[in-house]
């Protein structure tokens, strides 16, 4: 880890977990959703639900969804900025059950598109994304991350790792998940180095790879 995780980050207060962490959750959700956001339903759980106003957790999540980083002073005004940009935001208090106390579920809507992303702020300003649609995932956004949906069949994961290897991209961690055998597999791959567009299109062009998302580190 870096010394700047302890003396840092530079951030808008008041809380590493409830403000800076919440910005990161929103920011990662934006990277995963990728397309133009028209509407967001945000469900706040646990401590996020109880203390969001005093901590600015609502403004932080929306700031992240707008692409602001944790040190962006526009976070304070993010609810108005979202309105100006024509993005409809609604907050709901909810019990998501069995998740970290600082968790938000975001239902994101774009043109002909809907996606659900759940993220938790797990201490300091560290976070993790725990669910994307029906897929369980676990990544922090601290490293360059690929999320790949692929055909669930023997050798498919090997193909992905060989492609990455051929570009000298070292895998720091990898996690695969599927809802049903033989259907769609979801792979979360954290890498030591940033990934360029060329690698992403190579992966996308493979027959049995359905979707590739690259999430840049903060």
């Amino acid at each position: 880890m870096s010394v700047f995780n302890v003396l840092g980050p530079i951030m808008i207060g008041p809380s590493s977990s409830h403000t800076a962490g919440a910005v990161k959750v929103g920011y990662l959700a934006r990277s995963i959703f990728k397309d133009k956001l028209e509407k967001a339903d945000i469900y706040l759980h646990g401590s996020f639900a109880r203390t969001f106003k005093g901590h600015g957790t609502d403004r932080a999540l929306v700031g992240g969804l707008l692409g602001f980083k944790p040190d962006d002073e526009r976070i304070r005004d993010s609810l108005n900025i979202a309105k100006e940009r024509g993005i409809e935001i609604e907050f709901h208090l909810s019990d998501l059950r069995g998740v970290h106390p600082n968790t938000a579920k975001m239902k994101l809507y774009g043109e002909n598109k809907e996606m659900t992303i759940i993220g938790s702020s797990i201490g300091g300003s560290r976070i993790k994304i725990i669910q994307i649609d029906d897929y369980e995932v676990d990544f922090s956004g601290e490293m360059p991350t690929l999320w790949v949906l692929h055909k669930d069949e023997p050798g498919e994961v090997g193909i992905i790792t060989s492609i990455l290897g051929s570009y000298k991209l070292n895998i720091a961690s990898m996690e695969v998940f599927r809802n049903k055998k033989g259907e769609v597999g979801s792979a979360i791959i954290e890498l030591d180095h940033k990934v360029n567009d060329y690698v992403i299109s190579h992966l996308k062009n493979m027959d049995d790879i359905y979707q590739v998302r690259y999430i840049e580190p903060f």
């Binding site: 880890m1 302890v6 003396l7 809380s15 590493s16 203390t51 005093g54 600015g56 106390p101 300003s125």
Partner: protein, 288 residues
């Protein structure tokens, strides 16, 4: 940084006749595969934001969104209590200023957390100013502060929700104390002593914020924890040692943190949060 113990950092520094900050800087360069200048520049940016947050915290009329805190730094600065030396007063004013900015959704450098962000800048910037220490050494000292905190984060925790406030303001005070000793020319051993002395005396500090917000007692506690660091610096520089070594104090902190009930770890279910006034504030803020 690949070190897991403050002892290892001290030994390495002593063996190579270096300051702890130099070890922390080279570790950061190695780990992230970047040059010295890039690492130093990143800390310079931190220092710039620390200075700005102190200035912002002294602008009159600022209140937090809830109205619970704001203006404490100015109140103290404008007072003429003869109780403390100018140095102590300046340290406390800066700590209150930064913590106040944090409570107002202003920009701060978290260290080790946002709630404890006033302590390290208050101690180090004031000591550098008062002793006319050059910028370069001040930046080095910030690396020492960060390196000490990094070891706590590896071996224990920096989250109030996991360890109570000892893990936030306690560690912040210990980081500031250790780094201040290096800034003032103390040995690596004395850095470790100041760190251990400061943290030992804040073991068991609970996290019981009113209404769950980083305001009461957090803002004023930054002032206390900053002045507390100065006592540890004084002792360590005079040659007083900590009987319990720093790494064992960190371990003790984790054990105490585990033993603390959940109600005193950032859940606002006990302590100040459950006082008559604390509960009333929480109720008043319900519809806020």
């Amino acid at each position: 940084m690949h070190y897991n113990k403050i002892r290892e950092l001290i030994e390495k520094a002593e063996k190579e006749d270096k300051k702890i900050s130099q070890i922390v800087i080279s570790e950061e360069m190695d780990e992230r595969e970047i040059g010295r200048e890039a690492v130093i520049d990143e800390m310079k940016e931190n220092l710039k934001i620390m200075r700005e947050s102190i200035e912002e915290g002294l602008i009159p009329g600022r209140k937090s969104a809830t109205g619970l805190t704001g203006g404490e730094a100015l109140t103290l600065q404008d007072s003429d209590t003869a109780l403390t030396t100018p140095l102590y007063k300046k340290v406390i004013v800066k700590a209150l200023a930064v913590a106040g900015v944090n409570a107002c959704m202003g920009k701060v450098v978290a260290g080790p957390t946002a709630g404890a962000s006033g302590i390290v800048p208050a101690v180090l910037l004031t000591l550098a100013e008062e002793n006319e220490i050059e910028e370069e050494k001040l930046i080095d000292a910030l690396f020492t502060a960060g390196g000490l905190g990094e070891i706590v984060s590896k071996k224990a925790t920096l989250a109030g929700a996991a360890g109570g406030c000892q893990a936030e303001c306690g560690v912040g005070s210990a980081m500031a104390a250790g780094a201040a000793v290096e800034l003032l020319g103390g040995s690596p051993q004395q850095v470790g002593d100041a760190f251990a002395l400061a943290l030992k005396n804040l073991l068991g500090l609970v996290c019981d914020p009113v209404a769950g917000l980083v305001e009461v007692p957090c803002v004023k506690r930054n002032g206390f924890a900053a002045s507390h660091a100065l006592t540890a610096v004084n002792m360590a520089l005079s040659g007083i040692q900590s009987v319990i070594p720093p790494d064992e104090v960190i371990q003790a902190m984790m054990e105490v943190g585990d033993l603390l009930p959940v109600s005193l770890k950032e859940t606002s279910e006990a302590g100040l949060a459950k006082t008559e006034t604390g509960q009333k504030i929480a109720e008043d803020l319900q519809d806020f």
